[in-house]
């Protein structure tokens, strides 16, 4: 195996119990390939930040093994951390420092010699060059987020962790952030981003790891996952209970409720033809009398519930 094929980040059976006794990670295994964008998708409290903190060194790793670029993050922390850039969830910045100084500081902290040209290039790539001499506390929230990215990129990391980069930002800023990520991906930077927006995972990631309750429920290529997650449900309530799904309706993906009073039809929201019209027609042809019809879309919570159920 060449170093190109080996995962750039490898996480094996990692658990984390905080001082409070709370177990935030309950055995995580994950391998991230060089150059990919991986989204860690999960609700608040899933353990996304905890996992990133263990990889990057903000939390102590006591159970399990994490390697970055083949370097153990505990034993060989210097080599591992030199490869990593981290954009934290909170807008943590020194308020009175200048943008340029703050980015240069990060570069130094990561052991790189001073390089004004490199700092300038990073600032320009994030549209921050005009603000180079502004103090951090004079910047808007979106700019602060970009300063955090600039700081994370100042030492030319190979792996970039972005913890909820678009939480609480408006649509326009989110799109801008996605452009930044795409550009970095094109440069070959491996990106791990956490999010609780399905759309963001869909737009950005090559693969999605769904995390909930301190466990990774599945890791899947984004397209396949979206097809699975993107389903909508049509619930058809009946006037009189049905004993079984009539054979004439077999070609539809239907589920009869336990009391026989309603039928669920799952369909792909993205499909051109939903098949609803013909289903309704075929239902009445089969002699079923409808009382009511409504549609529901799986929320993130539903999806998680389903995933947990599917998990053997």
């Amino acid at each position: 195996m060449t170093s190109q094929d080996r995962p750039i980040v490898s996480i094996r059976d990692v658990r984390k119990t905080y001082a409070t006794g709370f177990q935030a990670l309950k055995g995580v295994d994950l391998e991230i390939a060089r150059g990919e964008v991986l989204a860690l998708l999960g609700p608040n409290g899933a353990g996304k930040t905890t996992l990133i903190s263990l990889i990057c060194g903000m939390a102590r790793l006591e159970e399990g093994i994490i390697e970055v670029g083949g370097h153990d993050v505990v034993r060989d922390y210097r080599a591992a951390r030199r490869m990593i850039g981290l954009v934290p969830q909170e807008l943590a910045l020194e308020p009175f420092s200048k943008v340029r100084d703050s980015v240069a500081y990060s570069r130094g902290l990561f052991g790189k010699p001073r390089d004004d040209a490199r700092v300038e290039a990073v600032l320009r790539s994030l549209s921050l060059w005009e603000k180079r001499d502004a103090k951090i506390n004079e910047l808007s929230g979106g700019m602060k987020r970009r300063v955090l990215i600039a700081k994370a990129l100042a030492h030319d990391p190979e792996v970039l962790f972005l913890d909820e980069p678009t939480a609480g930002v408006d649509v326009e800023l989110r799109k801008g952030m996605w452009d930044v990520m795409r550009e970095l991906r094109a440069q070959g930077v491996t990106i791990i981003l956490t999010t609780h927006y399905i759309e963001e995972a869909e737009a950005m990631a090559d693969r999605v790891a769904v995390i909930s309750g301190g466990r990774i429920l599945l890791i899947e290529e984004t397209g396949a996952l979206m097809r699975r997650m993107g389903s909508k449900r049509l619930t058809i309530e009946l006037q009189t209970p049905a004993g079984a799904i009539p054979p004439a309706l077999e070609r539809y993906d239907l589920t009869l409720s336990a009391d026989g009073m309603s039928i669920d039809y799952a369909y792909d929201r993205a499909a051109e033809r939903t098949g609803i019209a013909s289903l309704l027609h075929d239902l009445s042809q089969a002699g079923l009398r409808l009382r009511d019809v409504r549609t529901t879309q799986d929320s993130l919570e539903d999806i998680f519930v389903n995933l947990v159920k599917e998990d053997p």
């Binding site: 060194g57 210097r78 981290l86 943590a92 910045l93 020194e94 902290l109 990561f110 052991g111 700081k151």
Partner: protein, 253 residues
């Protein structure tokens, strides 16, 4: 060793000092002048000499120590507390740096600032009294060791503190009383015997005494004892800091 990181921390901490230069420099000059007015003029007119040294000059080493100790502890404590407070500590924790490197950066900057202020006070005091130094090299060494060891102590306080009250509590409740009771403004021999014994347990006594000896060749305790006391204190701080980083206490979850 990550020298670039030490340099980055040191430079950025010094930059913070220079952003507040006026207040950093002016306030010690003013308070020194006030001490001279109060102690030198009011008390000095009653106490002519202490152990053969003019009272105005006698108090200068103590005065410098008082400010330098407080400054060291406060600067270093604030230096490491501030990133915890605003959240930028995440960067230090995720950087390829060892705790020695982090400590050298923060403590180095805090000690430098305290040292500068010590020298400014010395210069100010020169305006009021005649101040020859018998052993300049030794005086400088005492000053430097004091700044470094108490900056380490402040560094620990900054890591320990969970809020601003705690951050200010130690300098206020521990350092200032220790300095005042450590023979800064009097010779310990002027105290009742029982108190003389109690004072021997005060680490600041050894600093002030050693520092004063470097000026006037008069001291409450032997110079060797003073040096040993600083070395002991420094070793204790280093051990504490090493333990803190090894366990991640108050820094890493």
């Amino acid at each position: 060793m990550n020298l670039a990181a030490i340099r980055a921390i040191y430079v950025s901490e010094m930059a913070r000092t220079f952003r507040t230069l006026l207040q950093s420099v002016v306030s010690p000059v003013i308070s020194t002048s006030l001490y001279f007015v109060v102690f030198g003029a009011a008390i000095g007119s009653r106490i002519d000499q202490v152990e053969g040294v003019a009272y105005g000059a006698f108090i200068v080493p103590g005065l410098i120590m008082l400010t330098v100790l407080t400054q060291s502890v406060t600067n270093a404590a604030f230096g490491i507390y501030f990133p915890k407070f605003v959240g930028t500590i995440y960067e230090t924790l995720s950087a390829p740096v060892s705790f020695w490197e982090v400590m050298v950066g923060y403590v180095g900057a805090a000690a430098t600032k305290a040292m500068m202020i010590g020298l400014i006070i010395y210069a100010t005091a020169n305006l009021f009294v005649d101040l020859p130094i018998a052993h300049p090299g030794l005086a400088f060494m005492f000053l430097a060791l004091t700044c470094i060891s108490f900056s380490m102590f402040g560094f620990i306080i900054g890591i320990w503190a969970k809020n601003f009250e705690q951050l200010q509590l130690v300098p206020l409740l521990v350092i200032t009383p220790l300095v005042f009771l450590g023979g800064s403004f009097y010779s310990v021999s002027m105290l009742p015997p029982a108190w003389q014994t109690v004072t021997l347990f005060n680490p600041v006594l050894y600093l002030v005494s050693g520092f004063r000896w470097a000026f006037f060749e008069t001291s409450d305790v032997a110079v060797g004892a003073s040096l040993a006391a600083i070395a002991l204190f420094m070793a204790a701080c280093l051990f504490a800091i090493r333990t803190i980083f090894a366990t991640g206490w108050r820094l890493r979850d």
